[in-house]
């Protein structure tokens, strides 16, 4: 499994990296633009990510906008449902509105921080990634 962790808070990203590295290779980005760059780079190199953990409150371009750009691009390229990247939104606060928005655009799950490791792994299993 290839994972992209988009998270500007160092403590959170170190944590996610530690947990998810057991299941696959994790790349780390710290803002929305980097997240999109990394996504495009992975497609270019034909090593697409299987999972993106996307923080809602990312600097430069927020997580919801990143999600929208990715889904729009996938729609445009007519990528079939099974091959689309799975996205788990992460958030520090219960930003209900943003989470709802993210679900409308199309994310697979959402995890509130502090992240519950067991639940996260459970969700990833449900997504058939591990």
């Amino acid at each position: 499994m290839r994972v992209l962790i988009a998270e500007d808070d160092l403590a959170s990203r170190k944590f996610l990296q530690k947990v998810l590295s057991e299941y696959g290779e994790c790349d780390i980005v710290i803002d929305g633009v980097e997240a999109l760059d990394a996504y495009l780079l992975s497609l270019k190199e034909n090593k697409p990510y299987d999972l993106i953990c996307l923080d809602i409150m990312l600097p430069k371009v927020d997580g919801v906008k990143v999600l929208k750009a990715i889904r729009d691009f996938e729609n445009h390229k007519k990528i079939p449902d099974g091959k689309r990247v799975k996205v788990i939104m992460t958030t520090a606060l219960a930003q209900t509105q943003l989470v709802n928005e993210a679900f409308e655009i199309g994310c697979e799950a959402y995890a509130a921080k502090p992240i519950d490791t067991e639940k996260l792994i459970e969700v990833i299993k449900k997504l058939s990634l591990i």
Partner: protein
Amino acid sequence: MVGIEKGENKEFFQSILSCIGDGILAIDVNEKIIFMNDKGEEITGWSKSEVLGKSINEVFKLYDSETDEPVYDNPSRKVLETGDSVGLQNNWGIISKEGIFKYISANHSPIKDSNGKITGVVIVFRDITRLKILEMRQKQAKEEADRARKQSEAANKAKSEFLANISHEIRTPINGIIGMINLTLMTDLNDEQKENLLTAKSCANALLNIINDILDFSKMEAGKFEIYNINFDLKELIEEVMKTHAVTAREKGIDLYCIVSPSVPQYMEGDPKRLQQILNNLLSNAIKFTEKGKVTLKVANDKIEEGNYILKFSVEDTGIGIAENEKKLLFQNFSQVDSSITRRYGGTGLGLAISKRLVNMMGGEIWVESEKGKGSKFYFTVLLKPGKEVIRERNDEICIFKTMLPLTILLAEDDEVNQTVCTRLLREKGHEVDVAKNGIEALKLYQRKEYDVILMDIQMPEMDGIEATKKIREIEGEKKHTPIIALTSYALKGDRERFLALGMDEYMSKPIDIDVLYNIMDDIERKKKQYISEEESIWIDEQGNLKYKESEDNTHKEDVKSIIKEIEILIDEFENQIESKNIKKLEITANKIKLLSNSVDADEIKYSAFKVQLAIRRGDYEEAFNIASRLRHQFKTYKSRVVY
């Protein structure tokens, strides 16, 4: 009596006139003196025989007692001409026969015969010299008192300003102490060393609190203290206050309770910092003076007035209590109720005096109910406006994480300890720091190198921070704006506004608080990131390129040229860093190359640099070095493609 009514007894009249306590003069239509009574002789020094038949203007020259000029507007002539009396005048003087100036009050009335024809003027006058002198003395005394009061006010203000200055002088070394302790705490320490340092830190902080008290107090005295009006979360504030005191209470074995009435709104508008200060003060006093038992903080909604809330806070303890006659001393400056307490309990005795002033400034009252030996109940009220929900700011972590976007920082600071502390704190975070000792040096460095931010001490020798900032802004004009943060320990209200007006972007008071410094630096980093790309909208086009709304191609050829040159220099650095296996620097440089190549559409280079970053973050250094070493070749290909 019959004779008086008939006007027959001339002698009788004469005797009445001479017995009257006021001087009386009469003149005929030619202004010749025809009568003067005994009192008149006494006041003027002239005898009747000397003046009768003489012109009044020859004998009594009237002076204006305020200007010492002769009165030209002769009142007796005026009466003769108009037939109207001239009422009582207080501001005249005459010179007596002996040459003494006498203040007189006088009124002039016409003498009319039975046909109403004016036959002369009668002047009734009184010597008011003693009264005048008394009046003048009083006036003088008042002026002197005024002068003395002004002097003492000026002296008091000078004292307050002196206190503010001296507090600054004291804060500077404490800043150094706390900074050094913080830095040492970041190193590897054994438990005992850590414990000792934490104690030292808490001592330094306690000292700082005292200095802050004095500074607050002198600011209040100098009239430079203001209360803010901002939205805040009252619940959070109370929780924080309770948390602060929980440790001390637990150590003393005292129970600490908090009861907040449900009618108290969570969000209020007012000055949270000052409210917290009052609460901290009362709670720490309560805990300090209580040996066993409990301390309870209660918050209730007293009443609502015109939409504003009056909140009533009470802090109740089971401590030593205060006797009736000691209560009035409580809220006075520099007083602890029992001076013998001072040594046992410590403190400046300024806390309650400051609290009282703060409470008053917030439209409330503070009072105490207590009995010796039975504990005390301190009450205070404050007037607060209903507030809006507070959007919590992120980024309240204190941990020191290396920054992902290192900044190039210029620190202009003359104090060596502060230089060291500040530099090390920033380098600890991964930023690059240059140091200038004064404004002139700062200016020189500024002209030599591009900085992301300048930390500018206000008080510096040779050229101060304000002057240096002015010069920098002059050089920059409108095209550029390097953020400048003012550093000063001379923190008086209104300074921030002044610094901002002088072209600075932020303001930080010393001693430097690591969290504040890091937060400000983070803000600047964030702004810098936004500056690099401030997209409202972003999408991926069909070719898989990132597209931004409003992304105009306004990069000039000249810029492209210089950017390419910059990238070339960075690639040189890059290769050195690969050689020395300097991972930290390598990522910083990779980031710079990525951002620069993005701005000139050098995608290949951008992605390679980005891949280096990703690999480093993964911990895959070998991969990072591999990609990095290919960068030079990619750059050459790119450069040959670009047509200038």
